[in-house]
């Protein structure tokens, strides 16, 4: 069947088998290998992307269901060579080790912050419950999400601009 979707700002029209999962379509057909598969039961969240602005586990959705949708993956977050504040916060707070869960974790964190721009630790921990990480023990991930929340506040915008330019290490 024929599906059309906009992924990271580019429109794609493809023939897909009805059983094709969105994540398979993204990885195998569109080359969006930044989004990864970590399990087969929808528990790990490694494949999380945004579909029309909301986080979705792309292993739990058929490509056909995404027909007509706008999708953002980890590869579409940085703009004009500048990292998204959540990406930057993950780097600055050492919120990743092997990095396999990171794309899904970042996409989920952005969704979480859209719902609650100033989450406390408990809210962050519960908001990330569907994304598993085996390396970090989550502490620095929680730290990064709260740091990103601070950076994303309108008042912090100017500071962020300066920090992003200066903090290149």
């Amino acid at each position: 069947m024929r599906v059309t979707m906009v992924v990271d700002g580019v429109s794609y029209t493809d023939e897909v088998e009805p059983r094709t999962l969105l994540v398979q379509h993204l990885r195998e057909k569109l080359g969006k290998t930044g989004t990864v598969v970590g399990c087969d039961t929808g528990n790990c969240g490694a494949c999380t992307v945004h579909v029309d602005g909301h986080s979705v586990k792309s292993c739990s959705m058929l490509a056909a269901q995404a027909d007509g949708c706008e999708i953002t993956t980890i590869e579409g977050l940085a703009r004009d060579g500048k990292l998204h504040p959540v990406q930057q916060a993950f780097h600055d707070n050492h919120a990743l080790q092997c990095g396999f869960c990171t794309p899904g974790m970042i996409m989920q964190a952005i969704d979480l912050l859209a719902d609650d721009p100033d989450p406390d630790e408990r809210t962050v921990r519960h908001g990330l419950e569907g994304n598993l990480c085996r390396c970090t023990g989550y502490q620095n991930i929680v730290r990064a999400v709260q740091d990103a929340a601070h950076r994303l506040k309108p008042a912090a915008e100017a500071d962020r601009e300066r920090e992003t330019v200066a903090g290149g290490e």
Partner: protein, 807 residues
């Protein structure tokens, strides 16, 4: 270094690796696609023990896009036997271990047939058309039952389910007294039996392997911790000349020992690619990873501790049963032996005996999982210290203090014959107690007990050490391990002054690119950004022993330091020539040779360029600064620390909540505090998960019922607390950086801290043990005097046996 340049070592550098990982610009093995690439899928046995009566592949062979359907009988002549590198005793039993079962399957999930097709979907479809008839054989699951006289056998041909018996006795070794005499004379004797449940490493990236046979060499990409060992083992197992194989470990998504393996899938992909002359890729599903990637732990420990009434330990006897699973994998039989020298831990125990019986069962193999033998040992001794304290009505910290090695007693040779080079248990403990508010929490505990609160408070201690930095080759030799424990490094000085560092270590999340850059920046006086670290490809990094056992920094990075020393030695001779002085007149600091007492000098980059041009070099000097070094450590590394855990236990529901977790680790000198802290966090999470959540459970047929992340309870962010971590710093005296390993420390230390805290919370209710994982049901049962079902079976959440879980 000049006074104006801040050393890189010790700085919390943000990681170089992150740039690609946070943007999705990654090279996981499954991301790699080659022209004409085919896909392999594996049919796995649903039975744990059965004879394969017949396999009908005819329907599958005719399906769309299917290039090959292969059974064990088809590969029997060429697949060899998967390697085990550690024959722990001369008479160890090691059954043939085929990549593809030929006539009998020995665990559920064992590969029975493979399909290679144009697409992954077509390969999966064809699996369903293969028809296998199994004749069931008796299933052996329980270790104690397996060694009974009339037990059915996992491998008929062996005549026994015992793999080996391995013994260390301090009286026989001359390193201590007789434990039987100590126990006979003991004023207090504590006997306990603990169970180390089976765990699943559960790295986040499922394993994937791709073999390209189209070049002059076979090129194999694999999600492995051990590209160098894998290359040699492929050559030895399959009879392929080693120089015709190139192995690449690209981005690898975690391992924790779980990717320290030579897998059936790696062999099968290689064989099928060779047979078809086309690239073949296989990526496992999570369900396949859970059921067939090797598991960890799975031991039964019988322990006897003798002491005087003042709390001084006089002897320790350890009898283990260790579950090998159905076959021996790369290091399977040696895992419990890695714990043998750690039961005495930080304590001065005068008499010690360790014996371990390795047992075959119809389950997937066990092998390395973070800590590998040492978490089990640490759990046993740290639980026993608490039991001894309870018996003597002493504070458990006081009992530890009475027995531990005091800081002025280092270097200290233990009852196992190991020499601990350095440590300061008092300092780490003092700091931890202060951060924890030990006395305050003890007061609160007492108040709650007196009030009879429904939620009781417990305090758990783990004053651990471990041996890591595997390993001195001579020690490995004495333990009959099949290889050495050295590591290799090379440094290439490029004409523009930039530096390439080649390391035999093989990172999969640890941050070696960043840490090695920091080390080399200091050694050569070059900017951090000017260093590129190459690893994980046997073509660029031709020699190595890879990454496991907290060895990369203490062995691998020391090789890097040694290589840098050689670069500087070569450069010194050329600098003397350029500056027209004697070599002895030169100082090297901050990347620059200067002639003592003058302002004349030359930078290492200038010298690299001069060497590249080679127009004017001293006679007999080769035009190269490039250097390599292979470092063999003289001793293990002995990090230590004090971990304190406060748990709240709801006596009405059995629910355990970690109220506070404080650890002060001493890992010697620290290259990057941020990375070290991250290693500790992750280690704690895995150790706490053993205490509270995780267990690989099998049903009576040998089917893994915790085969998904819905059933195998990897902790989420909501299940863990924030940790308070700190450090003391007692440099190692056995390597030039003063560093100790950190990768496994958190996992080794934390499990007993948590269980001690839980038992401590409810000991006054008559509880002196709760089996792991300490689920609410087990805790509640212990409090209410009921016996929880210890055969497992309570961890399953319902998805473990879904159809298709094993395809």
């Amino acid at each position: 270094m000049t006074a104006t340049v801040e050393p890189e070592v010790g700085k919390s550098r943000r990681r170089k690796e992150d740039a690609r990982l946070i943007t999705g610009r990654t090279r996981w093995t499954d991301n790699i696609a080659l022209p004409g690439m085919l896909h392999m899928a594996i049919l796995r046995s649903p039975a744990a023990h059965a004879r394969i009566a017949a396999i009908d592949t005819s329907a599958a062979k005719g399906m769309s896009g299917v290039l090959a359907v292969v059974t064990g009988a088809d590969l029997a002549e060429e697949q060899g036997s998967l390697p085990c590198a550690w024959a722990i005793t001369p008479d160890m039993k090691n059954p043939p271990h085929p990549a593809l079962a030929v006539d009998t399957v020995h665990y559920a999930g064992e590969a029975v047939a493979v399909v290679v097709a144009r697409s992954s979907a077509e390969a999966q479809d064809a699996l369903e058309a293969i028809d296998v008839d199994y004749d069931d054989l008796p299933v052996v699951l329980d270790m104690e039952a397996a060694i009974a006289d009339d037990a059915p056998l996992v491998h008929e041909s062996l005549g026994t389910n015992k793999n080996a018996l391995w013994v260390f006795d301090s009286a026989e070794a001359g390193t201590g007294g007789s434990v039987d005499e100590a126990i006979a004379a003991g004023e207090v004797v504590i006997e306990r039996k603990y169970r180390q449940q089976r765990l699943i490493p559960a790295f986040m990236e499922p394993r994937s392997v791709l073999c390209d046979p189209t070049g002059e060499q076979f090129t194999l990409w694999s999600a492995t911790q051990i590209p160098h060992i894998l290359r040699l083992m492929l050559a030895l197992t399959l009879g392929v000349p080693e120089h015709k194989i190139r192995v690449i470990a690209p981005d690898v998504g975690g391992g924790f020992g779980g990717k320290l393996q030579v897998t059936p899938e790696e062999l099968l992909v290689f064989l099928l690619a060779r047979r078809l002359g086309k690239p073949v890729k296989y990526t496992e599903t999570r369900s396949e990873a859970m059921a067939t990637a090797h598991h960890g732990r799975d031991q039964i420990q019988r322990l006897t501790l003798s002491a005087r009434r003042d709390g001084t330990i006089t002897g320790l006897k350890v009898d283990l049963l260790a579950d090998m699973g159905a076959y021996l994998s790369l290091v399977t039989p040696g895992i419990p032996i890695l714990g043998a020298f750690m039961y005495n831990a930080i304590y001065k125990i005068p008499a010690y005996r360790f014996s371990c019986t390795n047992v075959f069962t119809n389950k997937v193999m066990t092998d390395a999982y973070r800590g590998a033998g040492r978490p089990e040992a640490t759990f046993a001794i740290e639980r026993l210290m608490d039991e001894l304290a309870a018996e003597l009505e002493l504070d458990p910290m006081e009992v530890r203090e009475r027995n531990w090695i005091r800081h002025e007693e280092f270097p200290f040779t233990t009852v196992c014959g190991l020499t601990y080079d350095s440590g300061n248990y008092e300092a780490a403990t003092d700091k931890a107690k202060e951060l924890f508010d030990y006395d305050g929490l003890r007061r609160e505990q007492l108040e709650r007990r007196e009030r009879g609160d429904a939620v009781q408070l417990g305090v758990g201690i783990s004053t651990f050490t471990e041996m890591c930095g595997l390993a001195p080759s001579r020690v490995l030799g004495s333990l009959s391990y099949g290889a050495g424990g050295w590591e290799h490094a090379a440094i290439r000085m490029l004409p523009s002054g930039k530096v390439e560092v080649v390391t035999g270590s093989s990172p999969h999340g640890q941050g070696h690119e960043t840490a090695w850059s920091q080390i080399v920046a200091d050694q050569l006086g070059v900017p951090f950004e000017d260093v590129e670290v190459l690893h994980g490809d046997t073509q660029s990094s031709h020699k190595g022993m890879d990454t496991y056992g907290s060895r990369s920094l203490t062995v691998g990075a020391i090789a890097v330091v040694k290589a840098a020393d050689k670069v500087i030695a070569k450069a010194r001779r050329i600098a003397a020539h350029m500056l027209e002085c004697g070599e002895d007149d030169l100082d090297f600091a901050g990347g620059r040779f200067t002639v003592r007492g003058t302002d004349k000098g030359a930078g290492i980059g200038d010298i690299a360029l001069a060497v590249f041009a080679a127009h004017d070099l001293p006679d007999g000097v080769e035009p190269s600064l490039d250097s390599e070094a292979t470092f063999d450590p003289e001793n293990f590394s002995f990090p230590h620390g004090t971990h304190l855990c406060a748990t709240e236990v709801d006596t009405e529901t059995g629910r355990v909540t970690i109220r506070k977790y404080v650890c002060v680790d001493d890992v010697g000198k620290v290259v990057n505090p941020l990375i070290v802290e991250g290693q500790v966090h992750g280690g704690l999470a895995q150790g706490i998960a053993q205490a509270l959540f995780e267990e690989a459970v099998h049903d009576e047929n040998g089917t893994l019922t915790t085969g998904t992340f819905a059933d195998y309870l990897l902790p989420s962010a909501a299940d863990l607390p924030s940790f308070v971590t700190d450090r003391t710093e007692t440099p190692s005296t056995t390597n030039p950086l003063g560093v100790k390993g950190v990768g496994e420390a958190g996992t080794i230390a934390s499990t007993p801290a948590v269980v001690n805290a839980i038992v401590d919370a409810v000991r006054h209710l008559g509880v002196d043990d709760i089996e792991m994982p300490c689920t609410p049901f087990r805790v509640w049962s212990a409090i209410h005097g009921r016996t929880a079902d210890t055969s497992g079976g309570q961890a399953g959440g319902g998805l473990g046996s879904i159809q298709g879980g094993l395809q």
